[in-house]
Symmetry: C2
Subunit: 226 residues, 2 copies
C-alpha cells in the first residue's frame, strides 16, 4: 500500500503498480475462472482457483490482493465478479485491434487461432511482403501488402503488432511498426529486436523452449546412467 505514493496516480486509482510476475499470471487466473464459471461454480476458494491455475494458493491470494480486496473471508471469491475484475485490470474488457505481419505457416496458424478473438483481440489485418500472397484470404481476412501498414494502423487505431516473419525481416518490420505508432510487439521471429524506449516487446521462441527441455532431459539421463 505504501507504494501508492510512488506511482503518482492521477484521479481514481484502480491501477496500482502490479509486479511483472503477477501480471504474467493474471491471464492464467482469468482462464481458470472462465472454466470454473462454465462449470457452474458461483464462488471458489483460493485453494480451488490456485489448483486450477497450477500455482500455490498463498501466491494466488497475494497476486489478487494487488488488484484489491475482491474476496470474502470465510467464503471465497465470486467467480464472475473476480473474472470481470481481472479482465478489466488486464484490459481485455475492451477490444484490441491487432495486425499480423508475415503470413507463412506460423502466420496462418496465428490468424486462425480462435483464442485471440475470444479474449478480446481482433485481427484487423494480415500483411505480407510477398506479392504472391496478396489477395489470399486467411480466416476471413485478406492478405495485403506490407506497405498498407501505416494506413491500417492509423484508420483502425492499432497498438499491437505481431511479427511472424523470417528472422532477417523482423527488425525492419519492427522499425516500420514503431514508425507507424505501434507500441507493443509480439515477436515470433528468432531474433533480438531493438526498439526505442516506451515500446514493449515480448518474444515467443519455439526452439528455445525445446532447448530448455533438452537441457533438463540431458541431466535426467545423465543422473540415471552415470
Amino acid at each position: 500500500m505504501e507504494t501508492r505514493a510512488l506511482t503518482a496516480r492521477t484521479s481514481n486509482d484502480s491501477a496500482r503498480d502490479i509486479p511483472e510476475a503477477t501480471v504474467a499470471r493474471l491471464p492464467v487466473y482469468l482462464r481458470a475462472l472462465t472454466t470454473l464459471s462454465e462449470e457452474g461454480a458461483g464462488t471458489c476458494s483460493s485453494e480451488e482457483l490456485a489448483s486450477a491455475a497450477g500455482v500455490n494458493s498463498a501466491k494466488l491470494r497475494k497476486d489478487l490482493s494487488y488488484l484489491g480486496s475482491y474476496g470474502t473471508r470465510g467464503v471465497g471469491y465470486d467467480v464472475d465478479y473476480l473474472r470481470y475484475q481481472i479482465a478489466r485490470e488486464i484490459g481485455v474488457t475492451q477490444d484490441w485491434p491487432v495486425v499480423i505481419v508475415g503470413i507463412g505457416n506460423l502466420g496462418h496458424a496465428l490468424a486462425n487461432y480462435s483464442g485471440f478473438r475470444s479474449r478480446g483481440f481482433r485481427v484487423v489485418a494480415l500483411l505480407d511482403a510477398d506479392p504472391n500472397r496478396h489477395d489470399e484470404v486467411v480466416a476471413g481476412v485478406d492478405v495485403r501488402p506490407f506497405d498498407d501498414l501505416e494506413q491500417i494502423v492509423r484508420d483502425q487505431g492499432v497498438a499491437i503488432g505481431v511479427i511472424a516473419t523470417p528472422a532477417l525481416a523482423a527488425q525492419d518490420v519492427a522499425n516500420r511498426m514503431v514508425d507507424c505508432g505501434i507500441s507493443s510487439i509480439l515477436n515470433f521471429a528468432p531474433t533480438v529486436l531493438s526498439v526505442p524506449e516506451g515500446v514493449d516487446v515480448r518474444k515467443v521462441d519455439l526452439s528455445i523452449e525445446l532447448q530448455i527441455l533438452a537441457y533438463h532431459e540431458q541431466r535426467k539421463a545423465h543422473g540415471v546412467t552415470a
Copy 2:
C-alpha cells in the same frame, strides 16, 4: 552449491547446477554466437555478445561462468569454441527425436518450422486422433493415428513430446505421453497440465502473451490521457 547434496551428482561433474534463469538464456547466447560466427567473427567480447543477445554484459559473464572459464581476459571469447561449449551444455550437440501431437493449424506450422531441425531436434512423427488427417503428409512426415504413440516412442527413443491439440484433449494426450515414457512436454494447448514428478512441462500460450502486452498498453494509454 549446497543443493548439490540433493541432486546426488555421481562421478565427473561438468554439470554443476546452473540457475534456471541462466538455462533459459543459454539458447539465446547460442543463437547470437551462431550469427556472429556466420558473420565471420573469430572472437567476441562479453559486451558484443551481450548486445547481440539483448542482455547486460555482467549478466552474460556470470551466466557463462557457470559453465566454466571459457574466455580469455583482455581478449574475449572464441566464438566457435564457446558456441560448442554452450551447445554441449544444453545438449543440442546430439539429436533429439520429437513427436508432435495435434496436426491442426499450429501443428502444421510446428512441423514445418525449420528452426527445430537446425537446432538438433528431429520430428520423427506427427500424430492426430482425427482419422481424416491420417495419411496426410506434412513436411515429409506422414500423419499417423495417435495410438501409434507407444510404438514410436519405444522404437525411436523419444523423450520429448509437443502438444498442439485443443485444450480439452491436452491432458489426455499428456497422460498417454507420460505412460509411454516421455519425460519432457512442450504444451501449446491453453490449459494447465498436471503430470507426475520428474516430468518437465513448458507452456507456450499465445494469447497470454498478448494479454500481458494489453495490460501494459492500457497503462500507457491511461498515463497519457489521464
